[in-house]
């Protein structure tokens, strides 16, 4: 399949490009890479202040770690989706001069945000030690959940990459939609305990793939429970089918992208 062939061929480029982008992001800032850690920690502290003190009924066990897991997963998902809208346009100078599969642009961006997410997952470990969270074997199920998160993110990024070339105000629409999804995803609250309506709880926790990933992440890391594998494979299947369809659309429209930009 062309996608795998291209990925193999351009993988060194994607890695070098991601590394260079990470380097350039911190090159001119005073605190360098510390911002990647500081930003989610500060956000977590703000949330702890608001939901831990001002709205104490939102509080959960290990609340700092609970928030941080949600913010880490959401940060990866949100940044990738926002970046993907202008991915083709922002790389105009390259893709109009030399062939570069557009799927590689997505993969390189996922590597950039994935690296930041991994740093934050390291902080989750520190928080687990701080809160003395009992660790079970189920914690290893984080890895298949990260695979699912990447697959779903890739599929959605592909759709936005395609639409972003032709639809001018896509960035505004996505920013509003992501805000809506953010509040429906249970990043600062627990869908299982705070949403009283059964149907709504089911839709938010199971019907929203990002909500599902965050919920399961918290269960395996903080709750010591295992993944709901049936739902996992349903979402993975849907994600892979979407990735396949998205790749087809992208490859089919590569000439049009060049002409449009």
């Amino acid at each position: 399949m062309r996608f795998f062939k291209d990925t193999k061929k351009y993988f060194p480029y994607a890695v070098y490009s991601a590394k260079a982008e990470l380097k350039s992001e911190v090159a001119n800032s005073y605190l360098n890479w510390i911002w990647w850690v500081l930003e989610p920690i500060c956000t977590m502290l703000v949330y702890m202040l608001v939901f831990g003190n001002i709205l104490p009924n939102m509080k959960e066990d290990y609340f700092g770690a609970f928030l941080f897991v949600g913010l880490t997963v959401w940060g990866f998902f949100n940044k990738n989706l926002v970046n993907s809208v202008k991915l083709v346009v922002n790389n105009k100078s390259i893709i109009s001069k030399v062939y570069l599969p557009k799927t590689i642009l997505i993969l390189s961006k996922i590597m950039v945000n994935g690296f930041k997410m991994l740093i934050n997952l390291g902080i989750v470990v520190i928080l687990m030690i701080y809160y003395k969270v009992p660790v079970t074997i189920h914690v290893l199920e984080v890895f298949p959940l990260l695979v699912l998160l990447t697959v779903i993110t890739y599929a959605l990024m592909g759709i936005l990459l395609h639409l972003g070339v032709f639809v001018e105000d896509m960035a505004y629409v996505i920013s509003i939609l992501l805000k809506l999804v953010y509040f429906l995803t249970g990043i600062f609250y627990n869908i299982d305990t705070k949403v009283k309506d059964d149907t709504l709880r089911y839709v938010l926790g199971v019907g929203n793939p990002i909500g599902y990933v965050i919920r399961e992440m918290r269960l395996v890391i903080l709750g010591g429970q295992g993944i709901d594998w049936t739902l996992y494979f349903i979402w993975l299947g849907i994600g892979l089918v979407c990735c396949f369809a998205v790749n087809r659309v992208i490859y089919k429209n590569e000439n049009s992208y060049i002409k449009s930009i």
Binding site: Y13, I94, Y99, E168, S256
Partner: protein, 267 residues
């Protein structure tokens, strides 16, 4: 070598090297029945894009830029592509470079490496010149090790000095062009495609880059395809010229002969 190239009249014009030439000189580029089309999609608002989604006749938006073009370029040949605006020359060149993919037909480079020397390979503005050299080289098909070996030569030729470690976004357009030209000029490929711009930067660098360009073009066994509107440039550099008109080959042959006909046609 130009005499060995013949054109078959018709809608799908064909340019092939003569049989004898085939025996002596290997073919570097084979273009066969090349068709390239794309959808004429303009940027639109969300509202308009939803409305257009409901339109049935999407085929009407499709524009065929190259209509079944075929030709072979023997190794070492310097071929010019000429034609009025919209004739499909740059699209053909970009297809040979692999930037645009054919709807049908094929392009065979017979294992040769290829680079498009227009205003150089594009850069990532936030990265330094040095990092962009590596990225550009990788996209041209070179390994990180091969690029590392030539990095100093690229920096020296580009005359950028210490600016090479500054982000490209801080470069003037002249500095940008110098670096872009130097990368493609120093990381030599077997096939070079040139799109219009033959000299870049300030006066001194312009002369230097033009000299380098001629040196690259005249290297034995290097195959070159040049797209230009400049009769003078094509006369000076090319051994053969292909005249494209409305996505089809109108004429092909010896430079002087084709350019004379083209000038007559354009009067």
């Amino acid at each position: 070598m130009a005499e060995d190239i013949k054109a078959t009249p018709g809608t799908e014009a064909t340019v092939t090297a003569g049989e004898e030439a085939n025996k002596q000189v290997p073919i570097a580029i084979s273009v066969k029945d090349l068709v390239i089309s794309y959808r004429m999609m303009r940027k639109m608002s969300v509202q308009r894009s939803i409305l257009s989604f409901t339109q049935k006749d999407k085929a009407a938006n499709r524009f065929v830029a190259v209509k079944g073009v075929s030709f072979d370029v023997p190794q070492g040949e310097i071929v010019g592509l000429i034609g009025k605006n919209g004739s499909g020359k740059s699209t053909t060149l970009r297809a040979i470079a692999g930037i645009l993919s054919p709807d049908s037909g094929s392009i065979d480079l017979h294992g040769n490496t290829i680079s498009l020397l227009s205003i150089g390979v594009g850069f990532k503005p936030l990265l330094t010149g040095r990092e962009n050299i590596i990225l550009s080289g990788m996209l041209l098909g070179f390994s990180e090790k091969e690029i590392a070996e030539k990095t100093e030569a690229i920096i020296e030729f580009s005359e950028l000095g210490e600016f090479i470690d500054y982000p490209v976004k801080t470069y003037s357009s002249g500095m940008y062009s110098k670096l872009a030209f130097s990368i493609t000029a120093i990381l030599e490929t077997n096939i070079i495609l040139i799109d219009e711009v033959l000299s870049v930067g300030d006066e001194k660098f312009k002369k230097k880059s033009y000299r380098k360009m001629k040196e690259l073009i005249n290297t034995p066994d290097r195959t070159v395809v040049i797209v230009s509107h400049s009769i003078k440039t094509l006369e000076e550099l090319c051994t053969t010229v292909i005249w494209l008109h409305d996505g089809e080959i109108k004429m092909v042959g010896e430079t002087k002969e084709v350019l004379k006909e083209y000038q007559e046609f354009m009067k």
